[in-house]
Symmetry: C2
Subunit: 442 residues, 2 copies
């Protein structure tokens, strides 16, 4: 079994397709029609067409490689069997009502897993919001407006489709995207171990953000994480206290975060605590070179937020090395000695010389990671030109923590365009840089 039919299907069947707005089978049709390939709405109870595609009665009447199954759980085994007979290589099962529910559901899930094996068919789900690969215009999901999600350099691999969707939309709202997003759901036969190697090979993916609740195949998952060369950020969710709730979700067995952390120590995997840290950390790692060490050079235009960022980074293992005498001289000259010119460097206010100060600190050999904080002031703007030159010249991460009125958005995105990831709150910046620093220590 391979998962390639999820990535480049020649034809796609939407089983249970519908003309009725708001129905799952209509939402899935709405999302999939941007794909450049044959689309087959399958529904024996419907006639005519939907979005210009003629309904057919059965998936066996199609040339589909991929089937999006929009039918309720009792019908799923029958549909999967038909998919197998039709030579479909991959199926996505959205419906819940399987191993997460009861014994009958567990049997039904075992049945579809067996069909997957019999027909050598990849099955994403059941009980998933699906997946998307924006650079292929491939949105295999019922989630409305998921087509808003654009292409980015982070792959989001979530056990919970809800976390995958939440994270992807959070990225979207700040003008980022994903290289792909997968909701694993109950993992009938596609689990972390199956997708990680494919994402590792994906040229669009520079970091993988993973959400884990727990999997029976923990050894295979751990092995896949270990072998993966692309950096991985992990959010492990689901505590013992909500064992029943977690089990009722994707049928996950109870597993401690510690079990994963211990097995993955020193393997290029960073663990985080929140969804925002997951996507911000992955974004920082995907957008910058891996730092050579944990020595941070911090330049701030306002001391108050700078103190908060410095403290938080120190708690996450960052060092603040003394700057070279030459660097200190350059800074003192630019700042005329009126502020704190050690590391962290505080310029007191954004000044015309702000870019110059960042340049001096960034080029200091003692510094592995550069962090900047600045409240936007229109008359001065952000030092985009200096940052662009630094991003080109240096092989070290530069992260920029922004604050200010909405009007800074254009210049924020200019910084992103030249390879400087931005973060819109002090702790978001320090958490993301913290992930970079942890990766350096691996």
């Amino acid at each position: 079994m391979g998962v390639t039919d999820l990535f480049d299907p020649d034809g796609i069947a939407v089983v249970g397709a519908s003309k009725t707005a708001g129905k799952l089978g209509n939402d899935a049709m709405t999302n999939i029609r941007s794909y450049d390939g044959a689309i087959y709405p399958v529904n024996p109870s419907s006639s005519g067409s939907v979005y210009g595609y003629e309904f057919v009665d059965s998936v066996t009447e199609t040339d589909a490689d991929l089937a999006l199954c929009c039918v309720p759980s009792p019908v799923v085994p029958e549909v999967i069997e038909e998919c197998g007979e039709a030579g479909v290589g991959a199926a996505v099962i959205f419906a819940g009502g399987f191993a997460e529910v009861d014994e009958a559901g567990r049997e039904r899930e075992a049945e579809i897993a067996a069909l997957g094996e019999e027909y050598d068919m990849t099955i994403l789900g059941p009980n998933t919001a699906g997946y998307c690969i924006p650079h292929l215009d491939l949105y295999g999901s019922f989630v409305p407006e998921i087509r808003d999600i654009e292409t980015g350099n982070v792959a989001l691999l979530a056990q919970s489709g809800g976390i995958g969707v939440t994270g992807a939309f959070q990225l979207d709202r700040e003008e980022y995207g994903v290289s792909s997003m997968f909701g694993l759901g109950n993992r009938a036969n596609v689990d972390f171990a199956e997708l990680i190697p494919v994402l590792d090979e994906d040229p669009h993916t520079e970091a993988i953000a993973v959400h884990i609740e727990g999997t029976e195949d923990i050894d295979d998952a751990i092995a896949a994480f270990r072998e993966c060369e692309t950096p991985i950020v992990v959010l492990k969710a689901g505590s013992e206290e909500f064992r029943d709730f977690v089990g009722s979700h994707t049928g996950a067995p109870m597993q401690d975060r510690g079990a994963y952390e211990d097995a993955l120590a020193g393997e290029g995997v960073v663990f985080v605590d929140t969804v925002t840290e997951l996507i911000d950390g992955a974004r920082a790692i995907a957008s910058t070179p891996t730092p050579e060490g944990s020595n941070v050079g911090l330049v701030t235009a306002q001391a108050g937020p700078g103190i908060i960022v410095a403290d938080s980074l120190r708690e996450r293992g960052a060092n603040f090395p003394d700057l070279d005498a030459e660097t200190a001289e350059q800074i003192a000259e630019a700042l005329q000695g009126i502020t704190y010119t050690e590391n962290p460097v505080d310029t007191g206010r954004p000044l015309p010389e702000f870019g110059e100060v960042i340049d001096a600190v960034a080029r200091d050999e003692a510094v592995d990671v550069v962090v900047v904080y600045e409240i936007y002031e229109r008359s001065l703007g952000y030092p985009v030109e200096e940052l662009e030159a630094l991003a080109e010249d240096l092989d070290k991460p530069i992260c920029f923590i922004v604050a200010g009125p909405e009007s800074f958005e254009t210049e924020r995105l200019q910084m992103e365009a030249v390879g400087i990831p931005t973060f819109q709150a002090p702790e978001r910046g320090s958490d993301a840089v913290g992930a970079l620093v942890e990766l350096a220590d691996e």
Copy 2:
């Protein structure tokens, strides 16, 4: 000494006003001119007018109650003395170069403090970004575009003007505002103890968000926090490790967070860790009734994020009580028993019955705080009507954690308009509700 001239000045002098864009004295003029009162640009080196206001040579030629001092530190004592002679009741000193710098600065600061006492003048700063009171159109700050900040029900009282400005702009970007924002800076004679009682009396302020680095007058500050009836959320910044950096900022003495926490245990003060938690926590507390206990009823349309929210809330001291038999029956009926109908309640997907389920849980007497999570789907929308009825009928907090494409913004703001605070990431919601729960336990 009172601080009333900061709140309702009849006339305002901008000392060091300038016609030149980008100069501090021009930025301050730009911000203050929205105020409905006499404005006097003061600058003996300038003639003519700025924004239609005639320059005068000295503050003694004005009827100002408030002076915004935009001059460099060496000139400040002279300006403050003139202000005193002119009968100015309050002055804001933006310039740095005082106690945070060196011995000469300390002397200069002592000098202006003595002048403040001699002339019974309130002095905000030095070394501050200033303040704003949006409902009075009063923006006493040099920070460009601070006039974007609109009126809200949270007062932001920050030792660091940079944190005040960062927090206010963060609120602004999500369409919130502040009742007032103050940057204390070096606290020549306006410290926490002076402003807290005034904010406590302010009818526009429902919660006070406080940022502390450290103050010599810690006993007075603690007493003011204790006496304050308005709920307070505190972010204590500045660790021992960056003692010099912190000291160089607002001349703060080194003080542990523990010193504040111990002194304020059981006094209606909640401590948080980040800027976002500070403003989200204050927003939740300001916008909802104080909960009677820590029993949370959680309704989620997606289990994955629900698990994360539930775990995080439990860690912050929330309980998840069993629901009443009648509630469970109502939920099971609405959901046809296909999902997890205990507390947390997981509906599996947003359904037309989602509002009904929230209603049942919210009206359960075992529940003190209602938390909802839902990824937006256009065809279903958010249950605004049901939430409005609940907010009217019940005297308990209801918080809504949102996710989804940008297009949900209208309905998110509709929820805010009916008194339901919204939070745009799972951990932001659980942190804010965590602050509410802590307040209940006080």
